[in-house]
Symmetry: C2
Subunit: 453 residues, 2 copies
């Protein structure tokens, strides 16, 4: 599985001269059935994990160019995967709160987007999103929005891994004034970025079964299939939406999409709050990827998704923060905590979504949502080096009886100290290496000073 550019040096000695060693931490590999390694070291070369050793004495292995990340009193774990977000919506963080989804969307967010989104604002908004994700331990994100060339540029500049999809909606949209051209714009977007980088996958994001016509949904699916890329959609986020689809088509949303040919393992369905048993069964049978976004669903009163039922059926459910205007942050650690607690109190089953399960949602299952389960989501030799280090020196993380419990119930994104994506260090000891936080925040503050709705 390891594919390495050997350059002019001939065969590289992966074991004894790695590019990077993450040294002396407690290792939570997230490999199924594997125990925590109480103290160990992770070796990285050319972007891949090349060794994981339990011994603490490794000085003789370190080469002269080996970068060292100190993970003493820290947990080394796979980077988190944000399964559903709209990174550039940091621009609208806190602009409109405490409103119902429809009013929030149609009276606040859509007008703000129409007025204030452009290549410049989306670039800086997305860059702020990337900054916040790096700061809080996310190494990969699934995005859908408009002006997505700019989100690609931001993700590329930041060094994050991402699936970035061009939004498609059958209304005039930011950057796509004529809805007749929405799929052409999306297809050109894919063509422009397909193969551009190992880290970035382009795609299409259909806004919802209500805001896209049958033909649009079918064509979007067709284009995605041509490139063998996943298609994203907001599915059954509110009960109103379900009722409207029922009224319009005589079918519940999942069956409506099934009829159109979209219910398939290439579909990523975000939210999926209002599903009946038959719909869940249909999603499972057809391998549809569901992403849970509990904080957004709570804040916008959308409802509580039946995640526990889906997990019990063996579906690998992803976890997403949604955009910053409906959450209002991109902290997946807090999202894991909320996912576990909400599921417990809603199902009245205290064992529901335990710490390990929600960690899996944000790591291995998130990788499955992307179809990248053989590349990311766990720490094991031969996988890409998407790794974070969580500092255990904060008082909120003392003591640690069970590292998974500590990560889910006690940590927040602020406890992350180092972030590595594809072997490259993006944050070291809480200092960003690829992005300038002051410049980004200053730019976004300047943009936001013009925004009012």
């Amino acid at each position: 599985m390891i594919s390495v550019n050997q350059g002019g040096d001939g065969v590289r000695d992966f074991k004894n001269n790695p590019d990077l060693i993450i040294k002396g931490g407690m290792i939570v590999t997230m490999v199924e059935g594997q125990d925590t390694i109480p103290e160990g070291n992770v070796f990285v070369t050319d972007g891949w994990i090349t060794d994981i050793r339990g011994e603490s004495e490794i000085d003789h292995i370190q080469g002269s160019h080996t970068e060292i990340i100190n993970a003493k009193d820290a947990i080394i774990m796979p980077g988190l995967i944000n399964g559903h977000t709209h990174a550039a919506m940091t621009l609208f963080r806190g602009l409109a709160d405490d409103l119902p989804l429809k009013q929030w969307l149609f009276e606040k967010i859509f007008p703000a987007e129409a007025k204030f989104l452009n290549t410049d604002t989306v670039y800086w908004g997305s860059l702020l999103g990337c900054l916040e994700m790096i700061a809080s331990g996310t190494t990969c994100f699934i995005d859908g929005y408009f002006f997505q060339d700019e989100t690609v540029r931001a993700a590329h500049d930041s060094g994050l891994r991402a699936l970035i999809a061009q939004g498609v909606i059958d209304f005039p949209a930011p950057g796509v004034e004529d809805p007749e051209k929405n799929l052409m714009v999306a297809k050109e977007f894919i063509e422009r970025w397909f193969g551009f980088s190992d880290l970035i996958m382009p795609g299409i994001f259909c806004h919802s079964p209500l805001t896209c016509s049958e033909q649009t949904l079918k064509d979007a699916w067709e284009i995605s299939q041509q490139f063998d890329l996943p298609l994203q959609i907001h599915l059954s986020e509110t009960s109103d939406e379900v009722n409207e689809i029922l009224k319009k088509t005589g079918k519940r949303p999942v069956h409506y999409l099934e009829e159109l040919g979209l219910i398939n393992d290439g579909l990523i369905a975000a939210h999926a709050v209002h599903l009946d048993d038959r719909e869940i069964e249909c999603l499972k049978e057809n391998g549809v990827k569901v992403v849970h976004a509990p904080e957004s669903n709570m804040k916008l009163c959308s409802g509580v998704a039946r995640v526990l039922d889906m997990v019990k059926l063996g579906m690998p459910i992803g976890l997403g923060t949604d955009g910053c205007s409906s959450n209002n942050n991109l902290d997946l650690f807090q999202e894991m905590d909320t996912a576990a607690k909400l599921s417990k109190v809603f199902s009245l089953d205290p064992v529901a979504l335990d710490a390990e399960t929600v960690l899996r949602m944000a790591t291995t299952w998130g990788a499955s949502v992307l179809g990248l389960e053989d590349q990311i989501g766990t720490l094991e030799v031969g996988k890409k080096a998407d790794i974070i280090v969580v500092d255990l020196q904060g008082p909120n993380l003392c003591p640690v009886y069970d590292p998974m419990s500590a990560l889910v119930y006690s940590a927040s994104g602020a406890d992350v100290k180092d972030v590595i994506v594809d072997g490259k260090v993006l944050m070291k000891d809480r200092e960003f290496t690829t992005l300038d936080p002051n410049e980004i925040m200053e730019r976004v503050r300047r943009i936001s000073s013009d925004i009012c709705i």
Copy 2:
């Protein structure tokens, strides 16, 4: 209202030579109806807020001994009040998760407490709790536990304000092997600490109407009344508890306590999850103080308290984290976020518990729970200087359209940079001034290495 020790200097010039200036921040006073001050300065002398000025130029006022806290790009606000916790339970953080309350309590926590609590462990556990509270912006807490002399000692050493109550339960308890002596121990505890410090109020904490007899409840109330101190109790945390009380007494818990004379404005009722309309009306009519602990209620599957109904009736509801073994941290910022979101999704009312309301729960209403509403909970001249400064330089707090939204939905405790209690700086630029974090965490780690159940 300002009472100052003028010492040998004669009359002090409060306006022009303050002890402390918190300088150049956005000020959220939490005074009802008062707008945010976009940029201002808070003056503190002898523990009191002596001036709040909007002008940014204040250098000429600063005396030679004036300490300065820089609040540029930060929010200055009242310190948060944790309305319900058991600080020393940091010792058991993450020891037993994903279990039902009864099993968690009777099979895990009670045995662990019986085996591992003593004066030494409670001191260090409480001190870790104080450290974590300071780190995350809490300036005052309401505590109930055992070996509470040690929690008093920890709170005193840390500089926090607190109501610290000795636990009373009609079973053999940590430090009180003979339950017959529980009230004697509690009374002696109060006598020992009553008047000891302006910052610390002692009290009694009855574990619950189920685990304390009628006589115990009545006597605990009587003792509390003698000292004019509030009495704490866990009220109707689970539906099982309500059913057992109904079975035992023929009454729902609130009416049972009413019969015993406890339903009164001196009672602090934590959790109060399972209440019917008549019980809520009864609590309101009699001025009982209710404290909401949503994360604990979610994690232990206790249910969702009817906070919104109580707030609509005008009850000043406090907010608490509960102990670290049922949350598992003491971060009131995260608790505010969860309180708002849980209330929305549970009531399906997106306007429910908006940002300002939950901020009020953690500040002004928390002060009312303690009967200290004329001393703490807002920033205004003549109140005690319990103040925190929240750094807006993290990417999660950019941009800020509405400071209350930013504080509730985007911030976490990790964004707090300075903490002042009674005019004394306990944390400055994230450095603790009264506590040694390394020593405390090392001690607790050592204690925890012996703990297993």
